[in-house]
């Protein structure tokens, strides 16, 4: 364990959830900061410089999106959303506002910690991007623009490669439709999800992946994709 434990700011109005998260986070070696209201949360995020923020979308005083926007004004700290099920519209809005990923309540602690780890790792990786990415049996060379599955090279088109590379860079993290479309096709195509769907279909075919039993790319229906870390 490093000399300073990563500090996680939890903005959540329910005391029992905060209490339980404190135990979970402490046992995983994190230090937890608390805020039970949105305004206080934004303030804490500014004053105590946390390494990640966990934000409940259903706060009594402020809209969750407003909290995200307030933090994103000056900070790129990773934000993990805690949302209720069936809140797809809300989730997408939060992701568009600048959140990095979400977990659905009620969640298992294992899943929560895994998401948190991915977000923190990404932050630790910093700016220096490696030329090669690896996820399970998948290996992508960003400089040579090649993809290999189980050591066998696979031919992808330019757009397909860009999509896969983007997912690889954020391995384990949710990448929203909007994010992929804006990055790969350009801001004019944010609504053209069928481009993305077809591209992902082709990538899966070429990688020998099965949508019904995914090995690499997981679909988050209506929201985006996630590469298995």
């Amino acid at each position: 364990m490093s000399e300073t434990a990563p500090r996680i700011l939890v903005i959540e109005d329910e005391a029992p959830i905060r209490r339980f998260l404190k135990i979970v986070l402490a046992s995983a070696g994190y230090e937890m900061l608390e805020a039970e209201r949105g305004r206080l949360g934004v303030e804490r995020a500014a004053t105590s410089a946390p390494d990640a923020v966990m934000l409940d979308l259903g706060l009594p005083d402020m809209d969750g999106k407003a909290v995200i926007a307030a933090i994103r004004d000056w900070s790129q700290v990773p934000i993990l959303i805690l949302s209720v099920r069936d809140g797809e519209t809300e989730k997408i809005a939060a992701l568009d506002a600048g959140a990095d990923d979400y977990v659905t309540k009620p969640f298992a602690t294992g899943e929560l910690l895994a998401r948190l780890r991915v977000l923190l790792r990404k932050r630790a990786a910093g700016k220096a991007e490696p030329s090669e990415l690896e996820a399970g049996a998948l290996r992508v060379s960003l400089s040579a623009r090649t993809v290999a599955v189980d050591g066998t090279e696979v031919k992808l088109t330019r757009k397909e490669f860009d999509v896969l590379a983007l997912l690889m860079r954020h391995a384990g993290r949710l990448v929203s439709h909007r994010q992929i479309l804006t990055t790969v096709w350009g801001p004019a195509h944010v609504e053209d999800t069928h481009y993305l769907r077809i591209a992902v279909g082709h990538i899966r075919d070429k990688l020998g992946d099965d949508a019904a039993d995914p090995r690499f790319i997981i679909t988050e229906p209506g929201v985006g994709y996630r590469l298995k870390a």
């Binding site: 075919d205 995914p214 988050e220």
Partner: protein, 912 residues
Amino acid sequence: MVSTPDIRPSPESFLEAAHAEDPTPSSRGKLKIFLGASPGVGKTFAMLEEARAQKRSGLDVVVALVETHGRSETAGLLADLEILPRRRIDYKGQTLGEMDIDALLARKPRLALIDEFAHTNAPGSRHPKRWQDVMEVLDAGIDVLTTLNIQHIESLNDTVAQITGVRVQETVPDAVLARADAIELIDLPPEDLIRRMKEGKVYLPQQVGRALENFFNKGKLTALREIALRTTAGRVDADMLAFMRDNAVQGPWPAEERLLVCVNEAPVGKTLVRAGKQMADRMKIPWIVATVLTPRHDGLNATARHACQDAMHLAETLGAETVTLRAESDAAGEILRYARTRNVTRLVIGRARWPRGIVQKLMSLLREPVSEKLLDGATDFEVVVVTASAKTEAKRRAAPAFSPPPSVSRFSAATLEACLAITLATVFAWPFWSLLPVASIAVIYLVAVQVVAFRHGLTGALLGSALGFLAYNFFYTQPYYSFAVEQYEAVLGLMVFVISSVVTGLLESRLRAQIESMRAAQQRTETLFDFARKIASATKSDDVLWAAAAHSAKVLEARIVIMTPDAAGALEQVQGHPSIEEDLDPAALGAARWAFAHAEPAGAGTGTLPNSEWLFVPLATAAQPFGVIGVRFLDLKRATDPEMKRLLLAVEDQVAVAIERNWLADDLATARIAAESDKLRAALLNSVSHDLRTPLVSIIGAASTLAEGGEALAPQDRQALALTALDEARRLDSYVQNLLDMTRLGHGDLKPKRAAVDLKEIIGRVRTDLARILRRHEIDIRIARDFPMIDVDPVLIGQALANVLDNAAKYAPEGSAITIGAEVEGMQAVVSISDDGPGIPEGDREKVFDLFHRAARGDGAPGGTGMGLAIVRGLVEAHGGSVTAGPGPNGHGTRLAIRLPLAPPPLGEDGP
């Protein structure tokens, strides 16, 4: 013992008693009238004294309106009584102070003083007459004291006018008087009254001046006093009679005989009605006023029709039973037939006085007046013939509205055709005049006259015969080309000529009248039938109202609007014809509200707010009023036509029946739904209490054990307890999710966000989510790699598939395979999920999709919420799909087939 004869109250006495108690005696106020023979006898004074006495005994007394006429002794009595401010009405530059009825109703005292019962309100008031205001005040449960002079009593109007030579226009119907609970006669000998007047104690309004001074002479006052005394005595007599009947006192009261007054369009009608009223009162028997409508009646001009209506209206206000009889031709026969059925003993008829017109005089030669026929036929009745003094009647009809002479255009058309026909006849006869005898030439003219008579009735016949006579005389009788007549034979010929043409004309005009009347009747029947058919087939109240509006507009020749109360109780226009949005002025809206609130007609042609152009009739079922129908006749005068009233009531009746029928149907449906939702609520309650509690029992049990004695437990036991709590918590979570889904489905606000999606992606996601539940089963996916996209909301269909897989995992034995397949069938994808479980009995295959249905299983079976498959069906049907259950592919287990729409093929994969 001598048996006493069985004395019982007669049925009539019961009816009468029932009638008297009709409008809930406790809620209706009591009316007391202080009656005087003339102004100045001290009615107001007596009324105020009584009011003060009542106030002293603690009653809540308010003076709504009292005229002191400047008399200081009266004003003194007012001093310590509460006086309601008057309502100011500006009328033609004058400010009139009227009683403020709304303020009075709002104040709601126990007793109100309202002076001058017969007063006519200023135009623009709610009711034209003060006695109508008083009726409303009584209906509101307020007792009223009022004052009245006998010359204002409707039935005494003629008599008083004869005595005094002054006819008052302000009258109170006798029927209203009959509703008074007490009448107190304020009597003052004429000598005293004249003395008081001379002393200046009787205030005379200046504008009446000399006319009223004439009124105060001893002879007239004595006569008036006698009438007043007789009226009061008659009333006491009637009360006594009623008492004797009620209490079965044996006495010499007359058997239920009746008096029948026959009126027609003759101006004598109203006098007949008043005479009838007096006779009936004297004889203490009920009276009926009847009129007979014959085809001839339809051809009458408006003035004549109105005369008849006025008489009937007067009869109603005087408390008579009114009937309208119909006869094809024999009016007298119809009256006699009716009279016999109603136990009538006395007939009151008018002497026919033929108008001056030459046509009518000729007619009277040919047709026996109804009155004569009645006299001939009424051998078993006592018949009273009344002759009107034409002068008074003429005076009464103050300033009749100008109406153009009837059928001017028809008249000129008849003239034109008569000239033409006679000219043609003359030309046609010309070649024959030397060949044929003169009499035969007349026949040619006769044909021409008959043609004109046929086309224009009596007018045509007379015009034709006059012209024909002149032409014939001029051209064909000696001396030729002269109007002089020489031969006796020719004169006789001419006489025959004229008589036969008049007879023909009369017959023709009568025939035409009959045909027209029949045609009108047929049209009415047809539209009524049409209407009945339309509303019988209308299943929605709105359709019924629309049909009613359209029908009424057509039949009544009027604009129609139907208003019903909205949620807040304010009336709003819901239907209308020709326009659904009529621009109603405040008077019309007031009438509509009044009609609805009081369940009585209001507006044009009624006693309430008559200056509105609209007439509003309440629409009511047996139970309650549900709206009003507003009528604005294109011809505003028709609002008072009883025929219109009859038609309107017929419509109103049918509408009420139809609406009630629809309501009943709605109620039945609602009751059925309520019963079903009751059943559902019970099932939900049962499910919530069981399924929500069971997991909680385990969670609380496990968690409390861990919290209280965790250290004492073996590590594996601690682990087991924690896992139990976790599993049960997950079960609770899925249950709550199901409840939420069900609620969303139930509210109908589930709007799938559909897109072309890959079925395999959805399945992939569901498998990831259900990994823990599905870990003991083998999942076999048989979907072609190139299976087409489906057009669904991936999240909702994911939820549906998750429920199906969860269900399959629950029932299929551990280690068995769950197979997911998909095929294309037409424009649909059929997704099938098969398991190796116990299967569903054939009879239950539909029921498994019902809310809270659970397959009957043994004790060891896993518990479900009974909602899972119901949610699946709801979600799938929200996409326009369907779900069915059947046996598995090998004849055992279960196969669920979900049909979902396929996405349209992509328009070329040009994107990436």
